[in-house]
Symmetry: C2
Subunit: 227 residues, 2 copies
DNA sequence: TTTTTGTATTATGTATTCAAAATAGGCAGA
DNA sequence: TCTGCCTATTTTGAATACATAATACAAAAA
């Protein structure tokens, strides 16, 4: 099973694997802001040579996850509140566009999938399973973006999202905020189901505004804890 | 004069120079869609080794300007009408946001600079100097984006813009469309000057819609000419 | 004790080498 | 002639080696 696919599948370029690996580590906070990416150490950890690693680092730099210091290597980009706010503003704009397009372009299958994820998310909320809730939540937003059918939009959103997810891992949703977020999702789903573009746009914008506040608060809190 | 600064200035990493060089070549149509990037040839042309070149190619791939074919190198991404339309839709969304933010955040100096560029553009229009007009036009849009003060927005727009500029180089504006574009710019400048965000948003959206039509028409024409 | 300077070490930047995959061309057989 | 296979060449992928810049540290001088 899968043998044929494996044979057919070309091995992915090493540098791509490395990009994914490092991106995950950064997003999950395994590599913390300001941490230096020591090439020798990472090479040993990943069991590769410097060439693909360095290619990967250049890619991560264009994605904004690491910062290149000439002749001094790369460090994980700091999570500044201003950058986060800017990123979320842009993502809001993209979500708004995606919502509009999704209302027009989403297939019934797309909507069914989003609905399924929504119920899955409700289950995690009921169980107070925060990590799984976040995962589902992310997936729902991503599916709405994807339902827009605009490949460039999808790609751009994905890239920006990586930076926000970094903050998510330190966020501790208050029960109150969590509950209202779920309610907002109910409305979003309803608007999408009835393909009510203006309403969906408004709901996504509001949802995002709350998210901004929540993420920034988490950042502040974290900064305070660090100090 | 400048000696101290020059001493202080660190040399830019080679791969960045290469990225800029290749990006320019692609945007200006020197490297045409589908063209293979032969590493050996490019190394000789640029007088560098393969390592920084390959790092640059990876970066261009994440920017979407080239496509990586595993074990078969990289080719310049094709200019597909659908991708172009998708890109412009996203840029429209970003321009809309930028317009809003610019109305709130732009300094009088920013506005003065945009106004100056506007008059410069009018001069080029009067002289029917298309290339210089395009340059000015691009610059005005970029300055509006920059006046938003949102660094992430600026960065994202820049990246998307590279792909659109490629099409621009093959576009031959009709006199009629040219004239109306200039009129639209007059209104945009007026709205920005009076910091009328809703009006600016609407004007930018309309301006972009016309641009989409123009760019797509140019693409079609070019595709037809190629066939 | 503090500062400075020279040296050793380490890390990064770039070039080169080695390996593997793809392409091109030729040859045999139908 | 055409087809299929095989080899030779080219090209990319990855690793290693070399060059250069940054850092750490120690010794000497103020």
């Amino acid at each position: 099973m899968g043998t044929i696919e494996n044979l057919r599948l070309k091995r992915r370029p090493l540098h791509e694997e490395v990009v994914d690996q490092l991106r995950d580590r950064i997003v999950q906070g395994d590599l913390t802001p300001g941490a230096r990416l020591n090439e020798r150490v990472l090479c040993e950890q990943l069991g590769i040579s410097r060439t693909p690693l360095r290619e990967a680092i250049k890619v991560l730099a264009t994605e904004g996850l690491v910062e290149l210091l000439p002749n001094r290597g790369a460090i994980v980009t700091a999570l500044k509140a201003e950058t986060m706010a800017d990123t979320l503003a842009v993502m809001g704009s993209l979500e708004s566009l995606a919502g509009e397009l999704a209302c027009a372009n989403a297939s019934e299958g797309d909507l069914a999938e989003i609905r399924a994820l929504h119920f899955e998310m409700l289950a995690h909320h009921a169980r107070r399973a925060l990590a799984e809730y976040f995962r589902c939540n992310q997936l729902i937003h991503l599916r709405i973006i994807e339902a827009s059918g605009n490949a460039v939009l999808i790609n751009t959103y994905r890239q920006l999202n990586a930076n926000v997810r970094r903050a998510r891992y330190m966020a501790n949703l208050s029960q109150e905020r969590w509950d209202s977020a779920v309610r907002e999702h109910e409305e979003i789903l309803a608007a999408l189901t009835s393909r009510d573009a203006p309403r969906l746009k408004r709901l996504l914008a509001e949802h995002l505004a709350h998210k901004v506040a929540s993420v920034l608060a988490a950042l502040e809190e974290n900064a305070a804890a660090a100090a």
